[in-house]
C-alpha cells in the first residue's frame, strides 16, 4: 500500500507545473493545455482523498470536473480559432487591442 502522501505530492507537483506553464508560455493552446494539467492534478488529489476516507463524494466531484473540463475545451478551442482568424496567430503577445 502506497501512502497517500505520495499521491498528494505528485498532484501538487503537477499543479505547480501547470501553473508555471500558464504564467510563462505565450501560445494560447499551450496555456490551455497547462490549465487542463492543473485541473487533472486536482482530480488526482480528489481521488486519493476519496479512497483515503472511503467515501465517494470526491469521486463525484471528479466526474463533474471532467465534464466541466470537456465543456471548457469546446468553448476554449472555439475562442482560440476565432482569435486565429483575426490575428493569424495564437500568440497571446499579439492579443493587445486593449490595455489599461
Amino acid at each position: 500500500m502506497i501512502s497517500i502522501d505520495w499521491f498528494l505530492a505528485l498532484s501538487a507537483l503537477l499543479f505547480c507545473v501547470g501553473m508555471i506553464g500558464v504564467l510563462v508560455r505565450k501560445n494560447a493552446i499551450v496555456i490551455f493545455m497547462c490549465v487542463e494539467l492543473m485541473l487533472n492534478a486536482v482530480n488526482l488529489s480528489l481521488v486519493s482523498f476519496s479512497s483515503h476516507y472511503g467515501n465517494v463524494d470526491g469521486q463525484i466531484l471528479v466526474f463533474f470536473a471532467l465534464a466541466v473540463a470537456a465543456a471548457e475545451a469546446v468553448v476554449g478551442l472555439a475562442i482560440i480559432i476565432a482569435i486565429f482568424r483575426n490575428n493569424l496567430s495564437v500568440d497571446i503577445n499579439n492579443v493587445n487591442l486593449m490595455r489599461w
Binding site: L8, M19, M38, V42, Y53, N55, D57, A71, M98
Partner: protein
C-alpha cells in the same frame, strides 16, 4: 425522498434551465427571435416572482442537502433574476440595432442564469463548482458573441484563459478542504475545521478562486478588458447578475463554512478590500472609455462589498445583500444608457470626450444617466447612498474604523469620474452634430423603471432592510458571533 418537494424548492432554477433548453431548440429549427425573446422574458419573470415569494417563506434544504432555499438564497436568486430580466429587456433593441441579434444570446443568458441560481442556493462545494462553471462557460461565449469583431474575440480569450486558470485554484481549494475534513457539505466542513495546513491552504485557494470571480484586486486584471470588449448590454449582465451571484456564494461560504477561529480571515479580506477600493477608484479616474470607467467602478464597488464581508457580523452580511441589490439596479441603468448612446452611428460613443452636449439633445437619456451616476456615487436620495451607509455603519460597529474611513475617502474620490460624463453632457458645447436615433418604448420604459427603483429604494429602504436583517435570526447570531 420527495422529489416533487425538492423540485418545488428549486422551481425558479428549473424553469429557467428548461426555458434555456427550449429556446436553444427553437433556435435550431426556426429562426424566430420574437418567440425566443418572449419565452426568455416570461421564464425570467416567472422565476423572479417565485423567488421573491420564497423570501417570505420557510428556510430549508433540498436534494439531500445539496441546496438551500428561502432566506439568503431566495434573495440572491431574486437579485440574479432581476438583473437577468432587465438585461434581456434592454438587450433586444441594442442587439438588433447593431445587427447582431442571435437566438443563442437568450439561450446562453438563461443557462448562465440557471448556473447562478444553483450558485446562490449552494450548500455543497460540488454545487458551488457546477454553478460557477455553468455561469462562466456561458459568459466566455457571450463575451465574444459578435462574430468577426476583433475586440470581442480578444475579450473572450482573456476572460476564458484567466477564468479557467482561476477555476484550477478554486477546484484545488475544494480538494484540500475535502482532504482536511472528509466532506464536501459546507456545514460539515465547518464542523471539521481546524488550523492545520491542509485546511488553511484549502480555504485560501478557494478564496483566491472567488476573488477572481468577483474581480477583487489583485485578481482584477481581466475585468476592464472583458467589460470593454463585450456587447454593452451583456456587460451589464456580467457586471450585475454574475457578480451578485459570486458575492452571495462568497458570503455563504464565509458565513457558513470558514469559522473565524481557524485563521484570521477577516484580516485577509480587509487587506483585499482596501487594495480593491483604492486601486479601482484611482485607475477609474484616468479612463476615457466609459465602459472601462464603469469596469473599474465595478471593481471599486467590489471593494465596498468586501468591507461588509470583512465586518463579518449579521449587520455586515445584510448590508452586503442590500448593496448587491442597489448595485444591480443602478449599474444596469448606467450600462443601459451607455448602450443607447453607443449604438448611434457617426461617433464613437464609448469615448467620454464625445459625450459633450448630449444632455440637451435627448433630455430623458441625459437625466436617466445622471440618476444612475448620482446613485453610483452615493448621493442621498438614491439607493446607492443607503447601501453605502449600511456598509459603513456595519464596519464602524464591528470596530473596523480604518476600513470605514478608507471607504468614505475612496467614494469621495469616485465623485470625480462619475461626474465627468455629466459635466461633458451639460456644460460643454458639442463639437460635431450627430443625429440621435430615438429609443424604443420597451428600452426607454425599462430604464425609467430602473431609475424609479433607485429613487424608491433610496427613500423607502426600511422594509427591505428589515427583511434582510431578519434572515440572520437570533440563533444564527449566537451561533457565529458568540463563539
Amino acid at each position: 425522498m420527495d422529489y416533487l418537494h425538492d423540485i418545488n424548492a428549486f422551481l425558479p432554477g428549473v424553469i429557467v434551465a428548461l426555458a434555456g433548453l427550449v429556446t436553444i431548440t427553437i433556435d435550431a429549427y426556426k429562426n424566430d427571435h420574437g418567440s425566443i425573446y418572449g419565452l426568455t422574458v416570461f421564464s425570467l419573470l416567472a422565476g423572479l416572482i417565485l423567488s421573491v415569494m420564497d423570501m417570505f417563506g420557510p428556510v430549508g434544504e433540498a436534494f439531500t442537502g445539496m441546496i438551500t432555499y428561502g432566506g439568503v438564497s431566495a434573495f440572491g436568486s431574486s437579485v440574479v433574476l432581476f438583473g437577468a430580466l432587465f438585461c434581456v429587456l434592454i438587450s433586444r433593441e441594442y442587439l438588433s440595432a447593431i445587427d447582431h441579434e442571435y437566438g443563442e444570446v437568450y439561450s446562453l443568458l438563461l443557462i448562465a442564469t440557471a448556473g447562478m441560481l444553483g450558485l446562490v442556493s449552494a450548500n455543497n462545494l460540488i454545487m458551488i463548482f457546477i454553478g460557477i462553471e455553468t455561469m462562466s462557460i456561458c459568459l466566455y461565449v457571450l463575451a465574444g458573441i459578435i462574430k468577426g469583431q476583433k475586440i470581442g474575440a480578444e475579450a473572450s480569450l482573456k476572460y476564458f484563459l484567466l477564468g479557467a486558470f482561476s477555476t484550477g485554484f478554486l477546484l484545488y481549494g475544494m480538494a484540500l478542504l475535502y482532504g482536511a475534513t472528509g466532506s464536501l457539505y459546507l456545514t460539515e466542513i465547518a464542523e471539521g475545521a481546524s488550523s492545520d495546513l491542509l485546511f488553511i491552504a484549502g480555504a485560501a485557494l478557494l478564496l483566491v478562486g472567488f476573488f477572481f470571480k468577483v474581480s477583487a484586486v489583485p485578481f482584477h486584471m481581466w475585468t476592464p478588458d472583458v467589460y470593454q470588449g463585450t456587447p454593452t448590454t451583456i456587460t451589464a449582465y456580467m457586471a450585475t447578475a454574475s457578480k451578485s451571484a459570486a458575492f452571495v456564494a462568497l458570503l455563504i461560504v464565509l458565513s457558513k463554512m470558514i469559522p473565524a477561529e481557524t485563521a484570521n480571515w477577516a484580516g485577509v479580506i480587509e487587506v483585499i478590500a482596501i487594495l480593491t477600493m483604492v486601486m479601482g477608484n484611482l485607475i477609474a479616474i484616468v479612463q476615457d472609455n466609459i465602459k472601462r470607467m464603469l469596469a473599474y467602478s465595478s471593481i471599486a464597488h467590489a471593494g465596498y462589498l468586501l468591507v461588509g464581508l470583512a465586518a463579518g457580523t449579521p449587520e455586515g452580511y445584510s448590508a452586503v445583500l442590500f448593496y448587491l441589490f442597489a448595485y444591480t439596479i443602478m449599474n444596469i441603468g448606467a450600462f443601459g444608457v451607455v448602450a443607447y448612446y453607443e449604438r448611434q452611428q457617426g461617433l464613437d460613443f464609448t469615448d467620454i470626450n464625445n459625450y459633450v452636449g448630449l444632455g440637451f439633445k435627448k433630455p430623458l437619456m441625459g437625466v436617466l444617466l445622471s440618476f444612475f451616476l448620482f446613485s453610483l456615487v452615493g448621493i442621498p436620495p438614491f439607493v446607492g447612498f443607503v447601501g453605502k451607509y449600511l456598509i459603513f455603519a456595519a464596519a464602524i460597529n464591528a470596530g473596523y474604523i480604518a476600513l470605514a474611513v478608507i471607504l468614505a475617502l475612496a467614494s469621495a474620490a469616485s465623485v470625480y469620474y462619475y461626474l465627468r460624463p455629466m459635466v461633458y453632457m451639460y456644460f460643454k458645447d458639442p463639437h460635431k452634430d450627430v443625429p440621435l436615433v430615438r429609443s424604443g418604448i420597451v428600452f426607454r420604459s425599462t430604464l425609467v423603471v430602473l431609475a424609479a427603483l433607485t429613487l424608491y429604494f433610496g427613500i423607502a429602504f426600511g422594509d427591505l432592510h428589515n427583511l434582510l436583517s431578519s434572515f440572520y435570526t437570533a440563533d444564527w447570531v449566537t451561533h457565529l458571533v458568540g463563539q
